[in-house]
């Protein structure tokens, strides 16, 4: 039930049946209480081809950030496998993992919290160079200048501190840092959600330019489906720990199959009053259930207007519906 790569490209990242469960204290004070688990990511599989961008969308708490962090092995997985460039990374010992992690980098959501306020920008960008012993002295300095210029900053910025920069500039610093170790795969976790709209476009355009220039592969995690569709080749939609549908972004918009995808698409406002007047919304009732005790069968069935008895009995698998579109639904 894995998700095929876009185009004929070679697969760079293959995620197989990934699970990440977090323990939580059980309610009450009983010592006999059973340990409960937040099933943040529950059996997720996908592939990303070299040079491709896979978008991962979903609402808060659906597990998209956990997928990103577990794929980078910042979290140890509960079960499953991630094959990066031919190596199964969860089986690697620490020293070899360090070599691989150089190739897998991350950009974080909050440009204020993800930079050390006491380090200069030069040292922040230089840290991956030091850790991986890529350069020293003059070569290190030149590499830092080069990286800053790559992301549209200049060399004078190297001696300044993060608080002297705006949100958009800080996100550029974070990007320069992620590029420092010469990665092939970057996990972008909501890299633009904290930025103003005019600045978002600057950062997104830069991510696209860098991908073209350096052949980077992205996992782009965000809740803004319009932006994800814009930047990605394929889009995977997550709901409560599972991928419910994956397809080419334009295909997904034109022919959504899963009822959750349909509802999600219809909920997103379009900046055009003429279009908005004509649109009919599918308003989902209620809230996302708790990932501690997710509904049996299909996780979405409690809010699904098409739910049938079978949906509560058996979990639907991601099935290929042609043209690379995969859907996990019993009904549609």
């Amino acid at each position: 039930m894995s998700v095929g790569g876009g185009g004929n490209g070679e697969i760079l990242v293959r995620v197989e049946n990934l699970k990440k469960w977090f323990p939580v204290a059980a309610a009450g004070l009983s010592f006999a209480a059973k340990r409960e688990w937040v099933q943040a990511v529950d059996d997720v599989s996908f592939e990303i081809a070299k040079g491709e961008t896979l978008g991962l969308v979903g609402e808060s708490g659906c597990g998209k950030t956990t997928v990103g962090r577990t794929v980078a092995r910042l979290y140890e997985p509960t079960a499953g496998k991630v094959v990066f460039d031919g190596q199964s990374i969860y089986e690697l010992p620490a020293e070899e993992m360090r070599q691989v992690r150089r190739k897998i980098q991350m950009i974080f959501q909050d440009p204020y919290a993800s930079l050390n306020p006491r380090m200069t920008v030069g040292d922040i960008v230089g840290e991956p160079i030091d850790i991986n012993r890529l350069a020293t002295g003059e070569a290190r300095k030149n590499r830092i200048f080069e990286l800053l210029e790559t992301v549209g900053l200049n060399r004078e910025h190297a001696s300044r501190f993060p608080h002297e920069f705006s949100g958009g500039q800080r996100q550029r610093i974070g990007l320069a840092r992620s590029l420092a170790a010469d990665p092939s795969f970057i996990i972008c976790d909501e890299p633009i959600s904290a930025l103003d709209v005019s600045i978002q476009a600057q950062v997104v355009n830069m991510l696209q330019d860098l991908q073209e220039k350096m052949g980077l592969t992205y996992l782009f995690i965000a809740h803004d489906l319009a932006m994800v569709k814009h930047i990605s080749n394929r889009v995977a939609v997550m709901y409560l720990g599972k991928i419910v549908e994956v397809a080419d972004g334009y295909e997904l918009y034109a022919h959504p199959v899963h009822p959750y995808t349909t509802a999600l698409l219809s909920a997103i406002p379009i900046p055009d009053p003429g279009v908005e007047e004509e649109r009919r919304r599918i308003i989902l009732e209620g809230d996302v259930p708790s990932p501690i005790n997710p509904p049996s069968g299909c996780h979405f069935r409690t809010r699904c207007r098409l739910a049938q008895p079978v949906c509560s009995e058996k979990e639907p698998e991601l099935v290929d519906r042609g043209a690379g579109q995969k859907v996990a639904c019993w009904v549609t």
Partner: protein, 338 residues
């Protein structure tokens, strides 16, 4: 349409150690009865400060320096604090952005709702409770009588925002100011809340000032749009005109820098380069000129007058490109809708 609120030349500054920050610098607009007006702009453009100024809730070291805020013939800026308290909640109420921090975590929903009602209207406790249940029903919270005994942490984000709305609506205000009411919510929940706002507006005939940076939300709810940049209104007009024939390069930029979900093909986004200005020392002339692709010499020197775009004067813009002597700009339709 009859005007409910008339704001004239509002100026609000914050007196910081670094100097005077002119957060709102000469803002004028009207809100008609039963109308939804959206104020859009990026962080720090003064949209929230404008709203807080209307309610006279500007915290130290800020101060409303000049202007007038007329509601039903009275200038709110000249009322005594005691009278102003009566206006808040009864005539104008507010829904804040973050339902997480704007509810008191140690009081039940019922206590907080009843407090709001009893603060503004003289009613007995049990009457207030009945009213609280009524307003919770209005915002479509299931089993409202049970919810009254619950605490904010027991509710989801969307439910909390409904409680905030219930509180704002509890005294049947004529104007509700919604400051980024859906920004911290997920899109499916955002759709629920926007739909609810529309229904309540239709049912009660109240007016809404919607403050947001989300141009999609505006398109679905507002009848008129005010675009703010660096403390000033740069353009305002009927919602369709703002989207179809935006006249200010900033409005234009805002619309082009976001991808549309219904776009049929990939088109590179057009960002607005640079940063919004530091309001301690705003640029001379038009405040947008350092980021404007079409800036001329006059833009750097003199502020552009606010001119009508078409005959009826409902759509106005402050931009020198409107001047008869200004050069034509490719892809830019000046004036009357084609």
């Amino acid at each position: 349409m009859e005007n409910l609120l008339r704001v004239r030349d509002l100026k609000t500054s914050f007196f910081t150690y670094a100097g005077e920050v002119r957060a709102v610098d000469g803002v004028s607009f009207e809100v008609a009865v039963g109308e939804a007006v959206a104020i859009v702009g990026e962080s720090g453009c003064g949209k929230s400060v404008t709203a807080m100024s209307l309610l006279r809730l500007i915290p130290e070291p800020g101060k409303v320096l000049a202007g007038s805020v007329e509601l039903g013939g009275r200038d709110l800026l000249r009322l005594k604090e005691r009278e102003m308290r009566h206006v808040r909640g009864n005539d104008i109420s507010m829904v804040f952005q973050d339902p997480m921090t704007s509810l008191n975590p140690v009081l039940t929903i019922g206590t907080q709702l009843a407090e709001a009602i009893r603060q503004h209207q003289k009613v007995e406790k049990d009457k207030a409770r009945a009213r609280a249940i009524e307003t919770l029903e209005m915002v479509k919270i299931p089993s409202p009588d049970k919810r009254l005994a619950q605490y904010p942490h027991q509710l989801s984000g969307g439910m909390r925002q409904r409680v905030m709305m219930a509180m704002a609506l509890s005294c049947h205000p004529r104007l509700v100011i919604a400051d980024e009411p859906t920004t911290s919510l997920d899109v499916t929940i955002q759709a629920q809340i926007i739909e609810l706002l529309k229904e309540i507006k239709k049912a009660t005939g109240m007016s809404i000032i919607l403050i947001t940076h989300n141009l999609g939300v505006v398109a679905g709810l507002a009848t008129r749009v005010i675009v703010m940049y660096a403390g000033k209104i740069v353009e305002y007009g009927p919602v369709k005109e703002i989207y179809q024939i935006p006249q200010h390069p900033y409005t234009w930029g805002l619309l082009k820098s976001v991808p549309r979900l219904d776009a049929a093909e990939k088109r590179r986004l057009v960002p607005i380069y640079g940063q919004p200005p530091d309001l301690l020392k705003p640029p001379a002339g038009c405040r947008f000129h350092p980021r404007c692709d079409h800036a001329m010499k006059v833009c750097r020197e003199k502020e552009a007058p606010f001119v009508p775009v078409n005959g009826n004067g409902e759509h106005r813009v402050a931009c020198w490109l409107q001047h008869p002597a200004a050069p034509a700009v490719a892809g830019f339709k000046k004036g009357v809708p084609a």
